[in-house]
């Protein structure tokens, strides 16, 4: 019986496809998990309401103050005031004043004065004492800050989600 000759290929090309696939997987994973737009948002359980507007089309540098249940004030992952550690709120107020200074000013006809025109988003846990939020609002009203437009962050309830979806579908038709 004659032996079949075996042709061994030695010039096998390296298949780059799986490597490229893996690299893309990693890129997508890191892009979505380390989303920079979400770094302002602390892990808080927001209250659910039925008629809130979706938080879309917002300015890129809108200041966001996260208020925890203990009253800690966190902005961009940095704690600016901790009631258990800090004696006063000066550091937070100074930071807020810097933010207000960078905001565009608009003449207000009621008070006949130029006031910062951008809003500040206030995020709090559902069970955060209103006292802590009110203190932030008090800080916003200080003479060198004067941020008067406030947005309260909330979560959309199931009812609100269904309504917004229906509105979107209606608009598409």
């Amino acid at each position: 019986m004659a032996k079949k000759s075996i042709h061994l290929k030695t010039d096998l090309p390296i298949d780059m496809t799986p490597m490229i696939d893996c690299v893309f997987q990693l890129i997508i994973f890191l892009m979505i998990s380390v989303d920079l737009s979400q770094q302002d948002l602390e892990d808080l359980k927001l209250p659910q309401v039925d008629h809130a507007l979706p938080d879309k089309n917002v300015k890129k540098n809108r200041p966001i103050v996260n208020v925890t249940q203990e009253g800690k004030l966190i902005m961009k992952r940095k704690t600016w005031y901790d009631p258990n550690r800090d004696l006063n709120r000066l550091r937070f107020r100074r930071h807020l004043a810097n933010i207000a200074r960078a905001m565009p000013l608009k003449m207000d006809p009621d008070v006949k004065k130029k006031l910062p025109d951008d809003p500040l988003l206030l995020r709090g846990d559902e069970f955060t004492d209103w006292y802590h939020m009110a203190k932030v609002m008090e800080d916003c009203g200080l003479q060198n800050i004067m941020i008067w437009k406030i947005q309260l962050a909330v979560a959309e309830s199931q009812k609100a989600k269904a309504r917004n979806k229906a509105l979107l579908e209606q608009a598409q038709h």
Binding site: H7, V49, D50, L53, D55, V67, F127, M137, E156
Partner: protein
């Protein structure tokens, strides 16, 4: 026939070329990961409110206008228990005061607000906003205030302002 097969083998042509599933599996995994992580991106809502420009340390004065005063009071503190690293409260009760009337449940409060909205709206200019000042009292939580703001906005009012002076 045998000759043809030998020629094919020598030329390196594989007769039983199977379907390569790798790219399809890769793409499927990409899609799974993408949609899985999409869930973690939360889209939040917002309620717009305003701060008074004529109180606190501001020395500017504003002209008086007709507005509705809404108060939120804590009636029953409820009980708290730990859930993860946060406290969760149950059995809480709040009441609302609109002008001089008290409301103990949400339905009555909403009806009251709608009534006030109808009365206070300028018949000559219905598009003119009717401002509301919200006073949240001692012990009230953020969640209770936002729900009240939501009810106020839904009842036909456009502009909610928060009053100053808060006690812990």
């Amino acid at each position: 026939m045998v000759n043809r097969q030998r020629v094919r083998e020598q030329a390196g042509i594989d007769e039983d070329a199977g379907c390569d599933m790798t790219p399809m599996i890769d793409v499927t995994f990409q899609l799974i990961i993408f949609f899985m992580l999409q869930k973690f991106k939360t889209l939040e809502g917002k309620l717009s409110a305003f701060l008074p420009k004529d109180v606190g340390v501001n020395t500017t004065s504003a002209k008086p206008m007709e507005k509705l005063d809404v108060h939120v009071y804590l009636v029953k503190k409820g009980t708290s228990h730990k859930k993860g690293n946060r406290k969760v409260w149950t059995g809480r009760k709040i009441k609302w005061k609109v002008q001089a009337s008290f409301y103990y449940n949400k339905r009555d409060f909403m009806n009251g607000l709608k009534k006030f909205a109808k009365i206070m709206r300028d018949p000559k200019d219905p598009s003119k906003p009717v401002p509301v000042t919200l006073h949240a009292h001692q012990g009230v939580f953020y969640g209770e205030v936002t729900k009240t703001v939501d009810d106020i906005l839904y009842s036909g009012f456009d502009k909610v302002t928060f009053a100053g002076g808060y006690a812990k």
